[in-house]
């Protein structure tokens, strides 16, 4: 004869379920969304400022103009581009072609300091550091908050790609080596290409806290290498031969959480989860911009025929996808994306609901 479960047994079962929920429950993930906030024609260079505060402003570069705009779409500064522009959340540098003297401007367009050395400016991903890259790509300098040289380093070959994360900088070189430098310019790790007939580093990425580094190197075969920070250095944790043979710079980026690694392959973006699972998202054209913003990643491809912009939440939830004309630009800051198309800026906000 079958006995009914005792009330004590039911109580234990109930407590067990409660304990399981307490110990192993995970909150329901919020859905990332992308919504357009405003769209504005960029005023002519030199137009008077429309906004009054520089808080949360985004610096941009769209075609022949650059400057900054506040979260409500009011332009704070608009300048004619001299030759190139380096932009960050802290300001921008509008530099001439000979690169022998440039000025850091804050988000309101006011000059902060000038730099008289030769080299092209480059901001770190978080905007906290400003570098000067030698015009022949053989050296790098970090400038301090006053525009003085904090450190400088020459490389035994020329730079093919560069990534920043935390206060670290990863430099990929034509000789197939990847150097990871500390915030003081000291080399904390060096990786070399192994097992490939051609040894060149084609792409590199650093997690936002510099806890992970990744690079794609070599041809015949082309290989992805992921390394984790261990103490003062890094050790390789993952290696994968890739089914491609690109001989140009390859876009790579970690997600903001540092858990997912994204890179481009012909016709796709590939998302590598920390578990080792790789997911492909169709994407057309050579990637020119790949940026992580909050819970999403945005990519822009482009050629003379036009390109595509894609915003997705890793690993594979596509939030927005649109064809764009040639010359489109894409910048991001603190969860907002600025898409520049034909003299017009479109602000997209990445939110959660």
């Amino acid at each position: 004869m079958k006995r009914k479960p005792s009330s004590r047994y039911r109580l234990f079962a109930f407590l067990g379920v409660c304990l399981y929920l307490v110990l192993f429950s995970r909150p329901l993930g919020k859905e990332a969304v992308v919504r357009p906030v405003w769209s504005r024609d960029v005023p002519a260079p030199g137009a008077s400022a429309e906004g009054t505060t520089g808080a949360d402003a985004i610096c941009f570069h769209a075609g022949d103009v650059c400057g900054s705009v506040d979260p409500n779409g009011r332009f704070l500064a608009v300048d004619a581009v001299l030759y190139g522009v380096a932009v960050s959340s802290a300001g921008y540098v509008n530099y001439s072609r000979d690169a022998n003297h440039w000025v850091l401007q804050d988000v309101r367009g006011n000059p902060r300091w000038s730099y008289a050395g030769i080299g092209y400016p480059l901001f770190s991903t978080d905007g906290g550091s400003l570098f000067s890259v030698k015009t022949d790509l053989t050296g790098l300098r970090e400038l301090d908050k006053n525009g003085e040289i904090a450190w400088e380093r020459d490389f035994p070959s020329f730079i093919t790609c560069l990534a920043t994360g935390g206060d670290a900088v990863a430099v990929g070189l034509l000789d197939g080596s990847l150097e990871v430098l500390s915030g003081r310019g000291e080399r904390t790790a060096r990786f070399t290409t192994e097992g490939s007939r051609i040894r060149v580093v084609y792409g590199c990425a650093l997690a936002p806290d510099a806890g992970r580094a990744a690079y794609i190197a070599g041809a015949d075969p082309q290989t992805l290498v992921v390394a984790e920070r261990r103490g003062a250095g890094y050790s390789v944790s993952y290696r994968m031969v890739l089914p491609m043979d690109l001989r140009r710079e390859i876009a790579m980026e970690f997600s903001r959480s540092g858990r997912d690694l994204i890179w481009e392959e012909p016709g796709a973006l590939v998302v590598l989860e920390q578990s080792g699972r790789a997911i492909r998202i169709p994407f057309h054209g050579a990637v020119k911009v790949l940026i992580s913003q909050k819970a999403a990643v945005a990519a822009l491809s482009g050629s003379q025929e036009g390109g595509e912009v894609l915003v997705f939440r890793p690993p594979s939830t596509v939030l927005a996808r649109e064809a764009v004309p040639a010359g489109a630009t894409l910048f991001g800051n603190d969860g907002r994306l600025l898409l520049g198309i034909d003299g017009r800026l479109l602000c997209l906000e990445i939110g959660e609901m």
């Binding site: 190139g84 380096a86 072609r97 000979d98 690169a99 022998n100 050395g117 030769i118 080299g119 092209y120 400016p121 480059l122 890259v133 030698k134 015009t135 022949d136 790509l137 053989t138 050296g139 400088e152 380093r153 020459d154 490389f155 035994p156 070959s157 020329f158 730079i159 093919t160 790609c161 560069l162 990534a163 034509l174 000789d175 310019g185 080399r187 051609i198 060149v200 084609y202 792409g203 590199c204 041809a219 001989r247 140009r248 710079e249 390859i250 876009a251 050579a286 990637v287 020119k288 911009v289 790949l290 482009g302 050629s303 003379q304």
Partner: protein
């Protein structure tokens, strides 16, 4: 005393490298290896002659390309649109400032002289249409002077030594015969450059070598043969000399610091270019009593 040894290993390496061809038809050298560019050495040569097809210096394989308008640029490329080819015996050739859109990212193999790698242009940090050619020895990591590996160019114009200068604390003069040097260590500098008949503008092109002799004995020799990076700093091969150690300014090279001997001193600065043209400037000097 500054007496750099010649990098015999590099010379041997160069001797083993394949015979190269000029990459362009109009071979107008507008920039030489080792020139001062801001605060760094110019690690290649510039070839003017306007827009023209650029061919590989030897048969090779594409290992890297970047088109200024089409490629991703995580780093601003002062070399503009570039192509890098790998050749036999570990030689790499780099073609910079190419015209945007003139480069094929799909082609892998380049037979010698057959297929162009691009068109010389004005992309990147450039002040006119030209080709920037760099040669790199992959094994040693050295940037090699292309003029040492390409077929010789006709050049009958000797380098210019405009002046020899002496500098010490409280003393800075262009040297002339009979001048009295202070009896303290004195830095000797030479203002020198290499003009070319086919370049109409004055540009401080570096010669190939600058030698300083004191009383018949060579005390320094600067050779613009190759540049290597040691301890994070680019230096002339076989020396510890970076650009700031070699140059005191455009055209002004630091030859050596000498200790003038009592009595008369005979200084000779000898400058040669890659074609072997030579210029000499000398000064008979006296030394002040202590």
């Amino acid at each position: 005393m500054r007496v750099p040894g010649i990098a015999i290993g590099l010379l041997l390496t160069a001797a083993m490298l394949p015979a190269l061809d000029w990459p362009v038809q109009k071979r107008i050298v507008t920039g030489t290896f080792g020139e001062l560019r801001g605060d760094r050495f110019h690690c290649g040569i510039d070839l003017g002659g306007g827009e023209q097809d650029v061919f590989p210096v030897h048969e090779g394989e594409l290992i890297f390309s970047a088109d200024q308008e089409e490629s991703r640029c995580s780093v601003p490329r002062g070399l503009g649109t570039i192509v890098v080819l790998s050749h036999q015996d570990g030689l790499l050739s780099v073609y910079g400032h190419l015209k945007a859109g003139s480069v094929s990212a799909d082609r892998r193999n380049y037979p010698a002289g057959g297929v162009r790698v691009g068109v010389s242009g004005d992309t990147g940090s450039s002040s006119g249409t030209h080709l920037h050619l760099m040669l790199i020895d992959r094994e040693s990591g050295a940037f090699l002077n292309p003029l040492g590996l390409l077929p010789p160019l006709a050049d009958r114009q000797a380098p210019v030594v405009r002046s020899i200068e002496a500098r010490a604390e409280g003393f800075s003069k262009a040297l002339e015969d009979g001048m009295v040097l202070p009896s303290v260590p004195v830095e000797i500098l030479a203002e020198t450059y290499d003009p070319r008949a086919d370049v109409p503008f004055v540009w401080p092109m570096a010669p190939y070598s600058v030698r300083l002799s004191l009383n018949g004995k060579e005390v320094s020799r600067i050779l613009f043969e190759s540049v290597v990076v040691k301890e994070g700093k680019a230096r002339l091969s076989g020396t510890n000399l970076g650009a700031k150690d070699v140059y005191a300014g455009d055209r002004l090279l630091r030859c050596a610091t000498i200790n003038p001997t009592r009595g008369e001193s005979h200084l000779i600065v000898t400058v040669t270019d890659f074609a072997g043209n030579e210029s000499v400037r000398e000064a008979f000097l006296k030394t002040a009593d202590r």
